[in-house]
């Protein structure tokens, strides 16, 4: 059973009879277009090869009429069955789809069978109406959440993007001041679920931001938090959010990890060039110079 997501997005949720939900990104007409063009090139290449072979054979054997018929048969087979055979053989993929990382699945998330594969490819002719403009298919795809063309609707299939999402673990905090500032956060402050998610999103993306941009972005949340915690207002906004992240995801997570972090930040731990500067200004409340940002 599929449910429509509240947001406008190209992902659909498929819930299996075992009550397991999968999220798929469905491939729309434009995502499929390069795969279609690639398959068209392969088909044309194969047809050209057959044309040369059959043409030569016809010239040598004086049976050019039969060879002409052979060419038409080859064209017919390639045009009507190329997609169907490959999608059956390669579990929902043609060479073009394989290269572009998309796959045909049944609407319930199961692999497609041979009949579905062949039927949906034969019905492409209908989707390309009127006269090759593909408007019928495009309108059909626009009208449904799964970007199904008429061939897909008839066969109960859809095309999904095979994207592997990388799960980034807990972010490492190289700056020793983060752990120290985390200790100053009031012990009774409870981080809500939404705040934890927001902090995780910020820490995950902050490495891509310039230092002024970090300050701009973190200011929104850090300013009220500074007031709430009673910290000096010139505390680095970025540092505060990192400290709160550290408190939420590292310090409170397990004693072992905390001990490891403390060992690494002790005065006796081997120092790296990057944390020498950080340890030199160990006071977490100090004002960070403009070039290093807040």
């Amino acid at each position: 059973m599929a449910t429509k997501s509240a947001q406008i997005d190209s992902t659909v949720e498929i819930v299996t009879p075992e009550n397991i939900a999968f999220h798929y990104q469905v491939a729309g007409p434009f995502r499929r277009l390069p795969a279609f063009i690639l398959d068209l090139l392969i088909r044309s290449g194969v047809f050209t090869l057959f044309m040369i072979i059959l043409g030569l054979a016809g010239a040598l054997t004086n049976l050019s009429g039969i060879m002409g018929a052979g060419m038409m048969i080859v064209w017919f087979l390639l045009d009507w069955f190329y997609g169907g055979i490959f999608e059956t053989w390669m579990n929902g993929q043609t060479p073009g789809k394989w290269v572009l990382g998309i796959r045909v699945l049944s609407v319930d998330g199961q692999p497609i069978n041979g009949i579905q594969a062949i039927m949906r490819n034969i019905l492409r002719t209908l989707d390309m109406m009127p006269v090759g403009t593909c408007m019928l298919g495009l309108v059909a795809m626009t009208l449904n959440q799964r970007f199904q063309r008429i061939g897909d609707i008839v066969c109960g299939t859809n095309v999904v993007v095979e994207e592997r999402k990388w799960l980034t673990g807990v972010a490492k905090m190289d700056d020793a001041r983060v752990a120290q500032l985390a200790n100053y956060i009031p012990a009774d402050y409870r981080v809500s679920r939404t705040l934890a998610k927001t902090l995780a999103a910020y820490v995950d993306r902050r490495r891509f931001f310039s230092i002024p941009r970090r300050r701009e972005v973190s200011r929104h949340l850090a300013e009220p938090l500074l007031v709430q915690f009673g910290f000096p207002l010139d505390t680095s906004y970025d540092l505060l959010l990192c400290a709160l992240y550290y408190r939420t995801f590292v310090a409170d997570r397990s004693d072992d990890e905390r001990i490891t972090t403390e060992i690494n930040t002790s005065p006796f731990s081997p120092t790296t060039p990057t944390n020498v500067a950080a340890q030199a200004s160990a006071n977490p409340f100090d004002i960070v110079q403009p070039q290093s940002g807040k």
Binding site: I8, P29, L195, T198, Y202, E216, L225
Partner: protein
């Protein structure tokens, strides 16, 4: 308005995903997008017809492609293509304002959309009509005398050069409408630290000029293909229902511009989604929205 629960999912996408998502957005907001787009397009269609419609006012024979008539056909096709291309961003002002609201509000009102555009009207006139060459393009056609012979210097060289310059500017600075209508930066300011439209445009577009140009090129190719497909469909319908299979003067004069406008409307949605994508990639806009929403929640808790 809760900033982190947007109606359109805010995340990084590639160009083809953006094109696909635009179809979903079109389906979801079909009626308001149609209304907001055609409110701006209909006056432009009338102006264009007044400027160049007379080119097709010649006697046509049974077969459309007579040699002496082919000149008028190609002339009209070229002029109309340039005009629609130049005017497309102006045509999408109400649509852009609507989409900007639709990201955060479930059902934006037309009154708010028109009021917002009205407030920014001076900046729109300056940025689109003057800087982006719509008024100069219209003035080019005022130089053309319909009773004189075809003058290639004006219609090919002058109009072509203008279109090329505008195309180049739009390829590297595509999100002018969004900056003017949604970010609402001032046109000029005496305060040197104020973020004016020009400064903002430079900051937003500058770091990804090459990427934006490649995207614009791909969008232009897809736009041309879509125009051919839409016009082909209209031609097919005309053949089936009116038994007229030739692209006659009526088809060319009214249906060809309509096909281009339909595609321009769709590409305006794509452009808006690309703007969101650029802000996500370069500015971490989705993170900023979440932080602002969380700050609002924290403030509410304290109250």
């Amino acid at each position: 308005m809760q900033l982190d629960s947007t109606r359109i999912s805010i995340r990084e996408r590639n160009l083809l995903d953006t094109f696909d998502l635009a179809l979903h957005v079109l389906r979801e907001y079909f009626k308001p997008l149609l209304i907001t787009f055609f409110v701006a397009v209909i006056p432009l269609m009338v102006i264009n017809d007044l400027l160049i419609g007379w080119i097709l006012d010649v006697e046509y024979r049974d077969t459309f492609f007579y040699l002496e008539e082919a000149g008028s056909i190609w002339r009209f096709w070229w002029d109309m293509t340039c005009l629609v291309f130049i005017e497309a961003p102006l045509a999408s002002i109400f649509m852009t304002s609507f989409l900007g609201q639709a990201v955060f509000v479930a059902q934006p009102s037309y009154r708010d959309v028109f009021r917002d555009v009205g407030r920014m009207w001076g900046r729109v006139v300056w940025c689109q009509l003057l800087v982006r060459g719509i008024l100069p393009a219209c003035l080019v056609f005022l130089l053309v005398d319909r009773y004189d012979e075809f003058n290639p210097t004006v219609e090919i060289l002058l109009l072509g050069s203008l279109t090329l310059v505008i195309a180049f500017v739009r390829s590297i600075r595509p999100f002018n409408n969004e900056i003017v209508l949604l970010e609402r930066n001032p046109l000029t300011s005496r305060n040197p630290s104020a973020i004016t439209i020009g400064k903002r445009s430079k900051d937003l577009h500058g770091p990804s000029g090459g990427d934006l140009f490649a995207r614009w090129l791909a969008t232009a190719i897809l736009g041309m293909l879509l125009t051919v497909c839409v016009f082909g469909t209209f031609l097919f319908c005309s053949g089936v229902f009116l038994n007229d299979w030739q692209p006659g003067p009526t088809m060319l004069r009214y249906v060809y511009p309509l096909a281009m406008w339909v595609v321009a409307g769709y590409l305006a949605v794509v452009r808006f989604l690309s703007y969101l994508d650029l802000r996500i990639r370069h500015e971490g806009w989705e993170v900023e929205l979440r932080l602002r929403a969380e700050a609002a929640r924290q403030a509410a808790k304290l109250i």
